[in-house]
Amino acid sequence: MLSDFKSQFIEISKAITPIILVILIIHFLFIPDFSISNALVLILGSLMVTLGIALFLVGVNVGLIPIGNAIGSDIPRSGSIVIILMTTFFLGFLATIAEPNVRVLADMIQIVSENSIERLQFIMVISVGGGFFIATSIFRIIYNVPLAYLFSSGYLLVLLLLFFAPPDYVPIAFDAGGVTIGSINGPIFLAMGIGVTSILGGRSAISDGFGLIGLASLGSVISILIMGIVAL
């Protein structure tokens, strides 16, 4: 674990140094009232980010990914499709509610809609959407429904909804697609999909294991566009 941390730390330092350098150079050259304490905060913060990412990635490899895999490979064992869909719905629902960014977005929606959309109502809608699509993607892995069908019909629906949704909601809807997947549920869902394919015969991890995240995002986009239309 320690050697893993060391190699991750070196790797991440290389990844993050360019952006930190650009930020520092711009600050020193062009921002006149850039004080020493500001510079120190910037440097300390960058160190925290580097150390944080390295720890996060080590933890993901020994914690989140094996846990996601274990959940994924255990789910199909129950044999009953109803139980499988119910548990995955529940998991997707909870994981979306728990995502901090969803709450930030809910506040924004309340502002844009001038309080016509309640925060809690919004969080519920988006989480039900998340749960529904996580269950759908497990269903599609088990029954081998091609991803291309799901994505093309989903985005076709999105394009249609764009004609009817209020313009203010459009950027928020796509933003929601991105933020419902966070740094914790993202890796877990990813590993879960791959776990499900590993236990079922005749599936390839690469073409069947992925797509969960994309479907959950699609679910959020659709649910907010519909909300916007309803709120009209």
Partner: protein
């Protein structure tokens, strides 16, 4: 002694991270008791991993909040005042590339793609594709803020293109492509790039910074999908060539 606000509001960050982790951990523990029944030592190791993740995320989020978020804002405001406004386009392109290159969850995706394809699809290919995709997004976002053209046609055209490309894409890449949108809009994009865009829009005046910021994230969600679909099409063409050669 100068006061450095590096631990301000860190309690909120800790609560957020624990909250995000807890349902998944709880779910796992219930499964463990009911059916998984993994060896105890193994479970303890997993929990240690979770603890490391938790500490890492708290450090990362706090660092982003105290350093990258205000830096993005300051740079954005500074950029809004320069005279050669076209410079913002290549500059935005560069910031988009560099911040995605440093995005932690993008790394997780790359790692998972490389391991589950047994090295057939290189993680670095995905990393560069996503970084270039986000770079294009931020560049286009800057053009949009500078010249004020509407957002809807870009999004509509973009997803229409997604639907067309999807028909020709290698099936191995479809899942990865649509997943990548969610990973590219990670904490670096949502805080640093969004603060930068809002800063630029703000100092230009006469725009709606809130919606401009959201618009930026929507673009960052779109271009990685397009990039990976294109790579999927190239892979498919290469496969065909190999088939014809042999």
């Amino acid at each position: 002694m100068i006061y450095l606000p590096i631990a301000d509001n860190i309690d909120h960050v800790i609560v957020d991270v624990i909250q995000a982790l807890s349902p998944l951990v709880l779910f796992f523990l219930i499964l463990q008791v009911l059916s998984l029944k993994l060896p105890k030592d193994y479970v303890i190791n997993l929990l240690k991993g979770l603890l490391i993740t938790l500490i890492g995320m708290v450090l990362f989020f706090q660092g982003v909040k105290i350093a990258f978020l205000p830096a993005g804002q300051r740079i954005g405001e500074l950029c809004g005042t320069i005279e050669q406004t076209w410079l913002l386009i290549p500059f935005g392109f560069m910031l988009g590339f560099l911040s995605t290159y440093a995005e932690p969850s993008v790394r997780v995706l790359c790692y998972q793609v490389e391991t589950s394809s047994n090295g057939y699809i290189k993680g670095s290919l995905i990393l560069y594709a996503l970084s270039i995709g986000v770079a294009i997004s931020v560049g286009v976002g800057m053009i949009r803020i500078l010249y004020g053209f509407p957002f809807l046609p870009i999004i509509f055209g973009g997803y229409l293109l997604v639907l067309i490309l999807l028909r020709f894409c290698d099936s191995d890449f479809i899942g990865i492509a649509f997943d990548s949108g969610g990973f590219a809009t990670g904490p670096m994009a949502v805080t640093f790039l969004m603060a930068f865009a809002v800063g630029v829009a703000d100092s230009m005046g006469g725009r709606d910074p809130l919606l401009d910021g959201f618009g930026m994230i929507s673009l960052i969600f779109l271009t990685p999908i397009l990039m990976l679909l294109i790579i999927g099409i190239i892979f498919k063409m290469k496969k065909k060539e190999m088939y014809h050669d042999s």
